[in-house]
């Protein structure tokens, strides 16, 4: 797989090479890919914004996500691994396509729901988990970026809450349609095993069975991500009994 964007530009001296480095390499590759996809999404979003302030905001977010990708890539170099990225990998590609459908409809709210509620829930929860167990600066970087991503969500929540107040029914229906599209893909990504073949991001075989070696598990990352997603939907005011059925129907 060929990286679409080079985020391994600046040389950083490798300070250690642990036996777990290949595991961190794959975790970082997923993170870099996710950040680059987010950067692309924000760049696309800037193209449908009418308000110059919103355009600037979206471009600033895109720049921020590229910075996150670069920070993760730098952490890879510190542990002596090249961190690949592949926004064309099958799951990530589907997520990008879902976002582009919202762009094609010039649906700013749908774009925020996909990026800030769904993708960022996944990022905040999984980065937080990784941040707790990853050693040294690697852990600190994941924790820092998790906190920054959470700030994004807070910013979007005020817009989305106001939008829902205008027409709850319409808003909730929109979230559900996007949920079926985006969260189904995310749930497949986060399944305990990659049942439908290689994810096209891991550098060799699937990293999921090895996550236990770094005190993580696919189930934990999935559970934490869905929990974060549910909490975000709760904050939006979507009834808990409704969102409960949404998440229990996702692929496992």
């Amino acid at each position: 797989m060929e990286p679409l964007i080079d985020v391994n530009a600046s040389p950083i001296e490798c300070t250690s090479l642990s036996p777990n480095a290949p595991i961190w390499q794959d975790i970082l590759a997923q993170a870099v890919t996710g950040e680059l996809l987010a950067a692309m999404n924000y760049a696309s979003l800037s193209e449908i914004c009418d308000d110059p302030a919103e355009v600037a905001d979206a471009l600033e977010h895109a720049q921020g996500e590229r910075g996150h990708a670069a920070a993760f890539a730098a952490e890879g170099r510190k542990i002596g691994v090249d961190v690949a990225n592949n926004v064309g990998a099958k799951h990530w590609k589907r997520l990008r396509e879902a976002f582009l459908r919202c762009i094609a409809q010039r649906d700013f709210i749908a774009c925020l729901i996909v990026q800030e509620i769904m993708l960022e829930s996944f990022a905040v929860a999984s980065y937080s988990r990784v941040g707790k167990v990853a050693p040294g600066t690697l852990g600190k970087t994941f924790a820092r970026i998790a906190a920054e991503e959470e700030d994004h969500v807070d910013h979007a929540m005020s817009i989305l809450t106001a939008e829902r107040a205008r027409d709850q029914q319409r808003f909730d229906d929109k979230v559900y349609c996007l949920h079926l599209d985006v969260m189904t893909t995310l749930a497949q990504m986060l399944a305990k095993e990659c049942k439908d073949g290689h994810c096209e991001v891991c550098h060799a075989t699937c990293v999921k069975p090895s996550l236990f070696d770094v005190s993580l598990s696919a189930a934990e990352l999935r559970g934490a991500s869905l929990q974060q997603y549910l909490k975000t939907l709760d904050m939006l005011g979507i009834p808990g009994e409704v969102t409960l059925s949404w998440i229990t129907q996702l692929p496992v």
Partner: protein, 379 residues
């Protein structure tokens, strides 16, 4: 159940909620049934390990609406909130985690505008001594529901004695977990009616205090922290603390003893060690005016071999809602008196809420009502 996007629309967004019930699933089988129902018949059922990977991550939230009707025509609207305490994490080691879950469930009830909240099963045990840990309540009141639980235990003991031709007045009553809210309430109601009462609990000071209160009623009693210290053999037993097996009772109770499993979770069952004992699950009542779930979780959330059977602790909130008495009827640990038990019993009866049919893990002890069979879909 409507699983389309319009599924959001088919439910009222902000119905007036009279009561909320906070509970959790007693077993992984029960949890699998709930998740299976939510997934719908078109999706494959999840394996146990998949359920175990999902359930602990679900934040407390409403699962369904519950409407109840009184036999006098009154109606009350409620919601069932699951705290999603994993069934294998009921040990004391998880107490802080579980209290946090009950707090969050309580916050859901407050947010939903429930006027009264009943704490079901283990939630009641966790909170009975920790009411100060509940979130700020606004206009919502909380009840452990323990007073109605005690009422149903006492009624069941009297009923089974009558059915078995036993004389309560000449019986020896043993209460395991006697200093808890339910155990002490049972002691106050039943000890004056029996020949002798044996009180067992872990804390000797609390036992001494309870015994002192009962001795004022000229009750003949013994108390001990170890069951083996009792010289007398009990022929009526209330297990208000959960026992992992009947073995601690062996040798301390009559072979044909009446044994009420009032602990949580309920895990005493007829065994080869006590083949003649009459074991039943205590504290259960039945709504005769009608109870409906939306979505229809009937038989999934109330997994009993009889229809409309519910734990007394939850029924207390429903009865008070039907009575329009939104007050914290049962609070704290140890204040349940016979007077309060009589009061809640009358309130419940006014709305057609009565003692449920007696049964245990092997099935019904009596079949005066048509038994619908074990309704749950998997174990």
């Amino acid at each position: 159940m409507d699983h389309s996007a319009a599924g959001v629309a088919t439910r009222p967004q902000t119905p007036d909620i009279d009561f909320a019930l906070i509970g959790h699933q007693e077993s992984w089988g029960a949890a699998a049934d709930v998740v299976g129902f939510l997934r719908g018949p078109e999706r494959r059922p999840l394996h146990d390990d998949e359920i175990k990977d999902i359930l602990p991550w679900i934040p407390p939230r409403a699962v369904c609406h519950v409407d109840v009707a009184s036999t006098n025509g009154a109606q009350a609207r409620g919601i069932y909130i699951d705290s999603f305490i994993p069934p294998d994490r009921l040990d004391t080691v998880y107490v802080h985690e579980n209290i946090a879950r009950v707090r969050k469930a309580a916050a859901c009830a407050i947010k939903a505008g429930a006027k009264i909240v009943s704490l079901g099963g283990f939630s009641s045990i966790l909170i009975e001594g920790n009411f100060d840990q509940l979130p700020e309540r606004h206009d919502t009141v909380f009840t452990t529901g323990n007073t109605l639980t005690v009422a149903f235990i006492v009624q069941a003991i009297k009923k089974l004695c009558a059915l078995e031709g036993r004389d309560l007045a000449s019986s020896t009553l043993l209460i395991v977990g006697a200093t808890g809210d339910v155990g002490s309430g049972c002691a106050r109601c039943l000890a004056p009616l029996v020949r002798r009462a044996l009180l067992n609990a872990r804390n000797v000071e609390r036992l001494r205090n309870l015994a002192a209160g009962l001795e004022a009623d000229a009750v003949q009693l013994d108390f001990a922290t170890d069951l083996q210290q009792f010289s007398a053999e009990a022929d009526i037993v209330i297990c208000a603390a959960s026992l992992p097996s009947p073995s601690p009772l062996l040798g301390r109770i009559a072979p044909d003893a009446i044994v009420c499993d009032a602990g949580y979770p309920k895990n005493l069952s007829p065994s080869a060690d006590m083949p003649a004992a009459k074991i039943f699950f205590g504290g259960l009542g039945q709504i005769t005016g009608g109870m409906t779930f939306a979505p229809d979780f009937n038989g999934i959330l109330n997994r009993h071999p009889f229809p409309d059977v519910v734990h007394g602790c939850l029924l207390e909130g429903m009865a008070l809602a039907l009575e329009r008495r939104f007050e914290p009827f049962s609070q704290g640990r140890g204040p349940i008196t016979k007077h309060r038990v009589d009061e809640i019993e009358k309130i419940a009866a006014r709305h057609g809420i009565h003692l449920g049919p007696l049964y245990n893990a092997s099935g019904p002890l009596e079949c005066e009502l048509p038994c619908v069979g074990v309704q749950h879909r998997a174990n």
